[in-house]
Symmetry: D3
Subunit: 215 residues, 6 copies
């Protein structure tokens, strides 16, 4: 199976992290292609950057999706899911939707840990629009942007753990592509199931390919 | 991986169907054990039977879950998820939750096809209680109970297809254990993605085991 | 009129308390039968116990309801209302529903005081599922289980009063069978109307028998 | 116990009907005083009349409530509950709230039968504002105003039965003071529990006086 | 254009303030008539006064609306909008609705600043009933009634600013007729867009007259 | 005042229509600049085109907004409001929000008339996300895309009138930029207030500039 993962920011270290996390979550023999936009904002620091990045994501899908069996949108709270779906025959998995969907099957309620305070209303609006917010106890910012996280991963992990530990909810959702790869350590530290979006999307993509007949 | 699947009704042909569907959805080497209650109602024809069956399900979990890596509750709309969770260390997947969760990642909205008219309010109450109803376009009864379905599978399939075809929604959820195994044909006939609960739960159970660190 | 009251826990002192509260709330000449399950959990300490107790309640209804004119389910947040209804011709009153229904007629909003923190999500889920949560300001745990309450009633009353006093809401709902009999003192201490479930259910059962024609 | 019942319209036959229904629902020895405004609109044919009648109701409460142990507002969908509460020390029962509250304890969902099409949005807005609409399946107009109903009771009853029979919902709520006294016949004809507001309010008033300690 | 503005309280200084605010917000040549009830409560200190004032408002509309091209109801949270609409051919603008409607177009969410704590539930109930509460972050009382505000405007302004500054939300709504005229200073002090109801209603009334064809 | 109006499609006749409608709604002396994207989809026929057009809109805002006092986004259901806001100091008015906001002040509920069936879920999702859907009775497609509407305006008007006439709701919202200019005739034909988005946005922009102090 070939999975295209599109990171909406243009931070190469983040794209690599996402690719490694996707590969680790995938079945043996899965071919993961992880890309990011060629142009547009490097970091998704606000509403304008988020929308511009959706264009870059769409361009990557146009270029790479033809030979993909599934497309993963690796931005938490990212717009454009419907447009990406309309642009490829491959099924499209948005981590904003996959992580809460998995979390719902694992406990009574879930908390989202995200990056900067500016991301909080974006994420909350998106979860509400997707009809997935009813059992979300809250969205909590670590205060760290993706560049910080990839530059200082150990300190970032500590902050993510502290934020998760102080949030109420039986399940923790890591709501930022830059947190790919942190799930095991956050779970160990908090004693709660932790759902990270890229891994959730990969496994849903593979599961769905196996069991959901489409046409 | 060892998965325990518990069918809440006591119709052996249905349990076999569920087992075969679970096995087909599972990764190679997965050991599926499908059981049903030893006593209690044969068919879940009403609210009393549904509750009594939850007891039988709990007894099966008590007996078999110790060596399972995951437990699947194979009744759509079945109560008792929280009690089953409190009774085993294995993660528990309820098809009532898994099928909509997967459906949400596949399209704008989904329709549920279920068995008898009596099941409709049970399913709708449960989806609303689970916070998964916001993008459900409706729950539609075929009018066929599980005994009818297992006795006359070809006619049942035709009725399920007709019911699915007339329901609005980008995705179809087969909301009855007795429809296990029908997904491919319903998808072909309706041209829509079709999510069947047992297969969805198996794949979520396996995906989760792989990627969601728990404690 | 003959009313069957079923206490879901097996603490005899609690059953007696519930019976006395029911009798005090009933019209003269009412015959109250208060029972609890013969087996199953003594105390409803978690989700598993709550479900198992529902079976015991159903067995008591099967044995005693034939000669009852109304059945009262005396567990706050208890499942099984639909199953009990399907098992008897007598009308069934669940205190989880009766107390908020009465509270809604008495003020702008109401607060629920319940026993242990574990009961809080159970009660909140149930109120939301019943569509009665819109004017509930919150559910607050005293931290005391039923055994504590019946063993040390004076201390328990003090704790219930303190919890009620610190909760916002024009009306107080005592959301635990073990608080039967405390309404008058909580009302006096807090200066607010206090609705206790068993008394509310008895009066609704009698009122309904008088004025709601059924068939 | 002395209960003041205030009919918001000025149709004397309707006030008598309401008084008789209240008396029939009350415990022996209850003293029912039924009044209507001295001036203001005779019939509540629209939004202006509904508000003006609330003034007349308030004036009646000012004049008569001092010696009442409870006040019943007998207009379905009538505004002013909060103002009436602020004007008397007696507890106030609004049939718009009492009838649905009782209906919720009697079945999965309820339908409202009301008078004219103009009343439908008034009733629906009010039920939603009161947080009691979640399990209401719909509000259905008979097309008959109160004058028609009191002038031609037999024909009115037939129309109410036909409207109730065609409405979905396990319980029927008669949502118009002019339907006081029709509950038994509608129940017999439709085979469903029927809750009429004045009777529901009387019984809640008496029940509450008995069991809800206030201050 | 002739606009009738009805202040529900009978504090002449408040009516003058409202008139001046309306005039300042209006297009040149607009004729503003600002009135208040002839009798009824001077100050809207509770639920009874609020309802009584609605009668006085209706009487003013009856007397003055015939030659008005638009009617503005200048009480925030005031009932009676439907009755006023049914009493005049002129379009009716309620500041409770106009201010949030404008605020919604100016930011992600808005906070309401109102007068006394007693007004908070009145305002919140009304916003919810109007379906305008989804993006409201909260209603906050300054603790000052209208008489205080008109007697000590400088101190009142300071308190309003402090209350607005501590409230979350991208936009501030001044939810009390007594705050007419404070918008500019609150905006300057808080750095946020501030919507005051009377000005919002005047501009909507004029805008609507220009562009919404009615019949 | 200088207002920049951005039409998201690239149909010049539609842009002219929007400009004329904006000019007619504006105060004398207002300078209206109406533009559309330089590249991207001509017609917004699906989810991909809608997102691509948002990029083109953003580019126009970047180029033209500096000298604008307000920006109007003239696509009904169009994404990107937050991004546009983050890209200009001028206040931004989205017709998707302005038209319902005005409609809410004019009646109990409103119906939306839109272009093609594909637009219906886009519009409904957007209204729900904006928290403006509570009083919307439904979204109804005429079946005509913008090219059809501008090519055959008389036939289009007839279809819009027929669609509006058959929709329930006290107020009609014309939910498509291609319907700019039709409000008067639809109002005359249906006897209901009709709110067209571009005119509503222009008047809100001017009203807000006059009365909402921003910083």
């Amino acid at each position: 199976m070939r999975i295209l993962v599109v990171n909406p920011n243009r931070i190469a270290a983040c794209t690599r992290l996402i690719r490694d996390t996707a590969q680790a979550a995938a079945a043996p023999g899965t071919e993961i292609t992880a890309v990011h936009p060629d142009d547009g904002p490097v970091e998704l620091s606000g509403d304008r950057e988020v929308l511009l990045s959706a264009m870059g994501v769409l361009a990557q899908v146009d270029r790479h999706a033809e030979r993909a069996d599934a497309v993963i949108m690796a931005g938490f709270g990212e717009p454009g899911r419907e447009a990406v779906r309309a642009s490829t025959r491959a099924p499209v998995f948005d981590i904003t939707e996959c992580a809460p969907a998995v979390a719902l099957t694992l406990g009574r309620d879930y908390a989202v840990v995200t990056s900067t305070p500016a991301a909080v209303p974006v994420v909350e609006d998106r979860l509400r629009a997707l009809g997935l917010g009813a059992r979300c106890t809250g969205t909590h910012a670590t205060g760290l942007g993706v560049p910080d996280m990839v530059a200082h991963p150990a300190a970032a992990l500590e902050t993510v753990i502290a934020t998760a530990a102080s949030a109420e909810g039986e399940v923790v959702v890591l709501g930022c592509g830059g947190m790919a790869g942190m799930a095991a350590e956050v779970a160990r530290a908090t004693g709660r199931p932790v759902v990270e979006g890229v891994a959730a999307a990969v496994t849903l993509a593979q599961a769905t390919a196996a069991v959901v007949p489409v046409r």
